[in-house]
């Protein structure tokens, strides 16, 4: 059954990478929304250069998560699909709108007023998608999902429409904005833009702190034992402490103008937060009403399926990781060496 742990590790890493890379990607749209008209065009260009080559790859992490769930953990996949149908559809609409608007605005052969429409759709969808993503994640651990519920409201609405889930949604949105600003600081070439993104990084960080506080308050209101999860065990405490220290360090280095190390720190923080949340009730990642839960170990697919899935993932990553690394590296590296902005292909 070690293979089961391989699969779980892939699941966890895929979720983390989607949060980080997809998050920065969503965040870029959020930042654009909160940028003054004057600077929007520049932000857009920076962003296109920064995420254009890899955005297709970013959203693959989500597909990997879904596939691992439906092959390896079908009960979790189907329970969430049934009871969280509505927020899932919300997220899907966001993904459709965002993905197509991003491409349309870059590849439309004629540049005219339609650009305004694409931009608007892109920016709003960039907020909606992580909002629902957060709501779904929050609902999965909120203990509000009741697979046995009879009434429509209980089964399909209150499973996700509660203070806690919505607060987690807002928290996710602000985290995405934060990740994007940190990422974009290293992508711009002029000092003025660096300053702008630094300010954005600080404001989104404060927004995340406020939203985080809401999450705690909402958890109290909804009876979610969040405090206990985060602080009830040494790993949780250590992870939160590490995240806090790295945050302080990040603010300091931000003012010093370090561009790359702050990325690492921001990524580290998200990793620690995810670790703290998942560690406590692992392997029961979905908590249901009345103290029931869906477990990664008991509810998993038969051994042979898990084995082949793990092999597929391992072999797949042998191909994928070097290529992905080279793609990211090349576009980072060449930009600095060559220095001239690329026209789009």
């Amino acid at each position: 059954m070690t293979m089961l742990y391989v699969v779980m590790a892939f699941l966890w890493v895929a979720i983390l990478l989607y949060l980080l890379m997809g998050g920065a990607d969503f965040g870029a749209g959020i930042i654009e929304l909160f940028t003054t008209k004057k600077n929007q065009e520049r932000t857009r260009r920076t962003m296109y250069r920064a995420i254009g080559p890899i955005w297709e790859a970013n959203h693959m992490w989500l597909i990997i998560v879904i596939v691992i769930l439906f092959v390896g953990f079908p009960t979790i996949y189907t329970t969430m699909s049934v009871n969280l149908h509505i927020p899932l559809v919300g997220m899907l609409l966001g993904i459709i709108a965002r993905g197509t608007a991003f491409t349309f605005r870059n590849y439309d052969a004629v540049t005219d007023e339609l650009q305004v429409v694409y931009n608007r759709i892109f920016m709003y969808a960039s907020c909606v998608t992580p909002l629902f993503l957060g709501i779904i994640a929050g609902s999965a651990v909120s203990g509000k999902i009741d697979p046995l519920a009879e009434g429509y409201l209980d089964a399909y609405i209150f499973s996700w429409l509660n203070f806690f889930s919505v607060a987690v949604g807002l928290f996710t949105v602000s985290i995405c904005g934060f990740l994007a600003s940190i990422y974009l600081i290293g992508e711009t070439e002029n000092e003025q833009d660096v300053q702008r993104f630094k300010i954005k990084a600080r404001t989104t960080n404060i927004a995340a702190a406020v939203a985080g506080t809401f999450v705690f308050i909402a958890a109290k209101l909804d009876g979610v034992p969040l405090q206990e999860w985060l602080f009830g065990n040494p790993v949780g405490i250590a992870a939160i402490a590490a995240a806090t220290v790295s945050l302080a360090l990040l603010w300091y280095l931000l003012s010093k103008g370090k561009k790359i190390i702050i990325r690492v720190l921001a990524g580290f923080q998200i990793t620690m937060i995810l670790l703290a949340i998942t560690y406590q009730h692992f392997p029961n990642i979905v908590l249901l009403k009345g103290g029931q839960y869906l477990s990664l170990t008991d509810g998993s697919a038969p051994e042979k399926t898990i084995y082949t899935l793990a092999m597929a993932l391992l072999i797949g990553s042998l191909f994928i990781l070097p290529a992905l690394f080279y793609l990211v590296y090349d576009f980072q590296h060449k930009k600095i060496v060559v220095g001239k902005p690329k026209k789009n292909a």
Binding site: A57, H85, V89
Partner: protein, 443 residues
């Protein structure tokens, strides 16, 4: 409309939408690789322009294909949770391998689209080829998953329990080869004809003739070759369906009663009440021959299938007729094209041949949609043939009708935008890729 019909319609709509984009995403990279190759070999800028113009169109299709595919991977659970609960661990492996293939495709696409003048030119060319190959592999894998729904293997089903699961056997289920082969060729035929048709139209309009002639040739050769192979592979499929899914064969042929020397019914209006087909052309013994390779053999009719396990006859029959008719027409055009290329040089740029291609632009895609209707509707009432009924798989959530309306609106608007953008791409060819007179090359 009740929720069950709505769920089926939403699934059909989403797949019918996705398939168009995935065919293009699968095949266009090969066209681009050929044109790119000519550019690297001959250094004629027109080939570079064709490659670049295509790659912009493809980027639009890729994005739309990717989001519609993402939607599908959720929809399987949103609409058919009870199917996925059992089927996921059995037929899910192709999807996880497909995940790898998509990933490679997405990375290679990043290299290809953003890599002009950046890398060694052959490495850059090679990334384009990788995009095509991994797209094709994804297509084959996902069709293998669908084939499993038609000929489920790799598990034991007893007393409502699924045990002895073997995902490798499930991928290589009996139908995987005939279906994947037929689908892959279909993608080339459909995309080839669609692209050739558009460029033929521009040639007739005398716009950027050099550019469009080169583009037309590449697409037409692929499309025509595939269109000639397609009926052969269709015959393999039909023989296979006759052996494994008699109900589907009977429905698509509107073959009501079991008989020896069954005749092949072409066209006609099936009358399900009186179990006959009116106004049809009947070729005696034809069906027996088609299904078993022997004019005298017996072919099972719908009467051999229990009433509640019969698929809808009319839809399956019409869809099958449409596919075969279009297949024959496309094969005819393809043969004429090859005659033009090989023997009758004077036909080559004649208006009527180009007009034929213009007229045939949508045919391949109509055939693709029709073919999938045969496969899916012909399997009804089963979602997993002989194992699970579609109505037992549907989500318990009420109100799917609204979700169907919502997705219909979304897909309709997306389709309109994509068509509009494609129109603009083509209109801009003049401005973006006009070749200075001195560089024009006789074709």
């Amino acid at each position: 409309m009740d929720d069950f019909i709505a769920a089926r319609s939403q699934m059909a709509l989403s797949l019918g939408f996705h398939i168009v984009f995935s065919c293009i995403g699968m095949v266009m990279p090969f066209f681009m690789a050929v044109s790119h190759y000519y550019y690297l070999k001959t250094n004629q800028p027109v080939y570079r322009n064709v490659t670049k113009a295509w790659s912009k169109g493809v980027a639009i299709f890729f994005a739309t294909g990717a989001v519609s595919g993402t939607v599908l991977s959720f929809e399987l659970g949103l609409l058919w949770p009870k199917f996925m609960l059992h089927a996921g661990p059995i037929f899910g492996l192709p999807f996880s391998l497909e995940g790898t293939a998509f990933f490679i495709e997405a990375i290679a696409l990043g290299f290809f689209l953003y890599g002009w003048d950046r890398f060694n030119k052959w490495f850059h060319w090679f990334t384009g080829v990788v995009v095509g190959v991994s797209g094709l592999v994804s297509g084959i894998l996902v069709v293998a998953a669908n084939a499993w729904m038609n000929t489920p293997t790799g598990f034991t089903f007893a007393n409502g329990q699924y045990s002895d699961i073997d995902p490798i056997k499930a991928i290589f289920n009996p139908a995987w080869f005939s279906q994947s082969l037929h689908m892959s060729i279909a993608a080339f035929a459909a995309t080839g004809f669609a692209v050739a048709g558009i460029h033929a139209l521009m040639m007739l309009k005398r716009k950027n003739v050099v550019f469009h002639t080169k583009a037309f040739k590449i697409a037409a050769v692929f499309g025509a070759a595939a269109a000639i192979l397609q009926p052969l592979s269709g015959d393999i499929s039909a023989k296979f369906v006759a052996r494994t899914q008699p109900a589907k064969l009977a429905a698509m042929e509107a073959h009501f009663t079991t008989e020896k020397s069954a005749s092949l019914i072409i066209g006609g209006i099936p009358d399900e009440k009186n179990k006959e087909v009116n106004y049809a052309l009947k070729i005696p013994g034809g069906l027996s021959f088609l299904a078993n390779g022997d004019f005298k053999s017996e072919v099972k009719g719908l009467d051999s299938i229990p009433e509640e396990e019969r698929p809808p006859v009319a839809i399956s029959h019409y869809a099958f007729q449409i596919m075969v008719a279009l297949g024959m027409i496309m094969m005819g055009i393809a043969i004429m094209y090859f005659i033009a290329v090989i023997r009758k040089k004077q036909w080559r740029n004649s208006r009527w041949l180009l007009q034929l291609f213009v007229w045939a632009t949508p045919l391949g895609f109509i055939a693709v949609e029709a073919g999938w209707t045969v496969t899916e509707v012909g399997r009804q009432p089963w979602i997993i043939y002989g194992v699970m009924k579609t109505k037992d798989a549907v989500t318990p959530m009420p109100g799917i009708v609204y979700s169907f309306y919502l997705f219909s609106a979304v897909y309709l608007s997306l389709a309109l935008i994509v068509i509009f953008m494609l129109y603009r791409q083509i209109k801009m060819v003049d401005k973006l890729y006009d070749i200075p007179a001195g560089e024009q090359v006789k074709n």
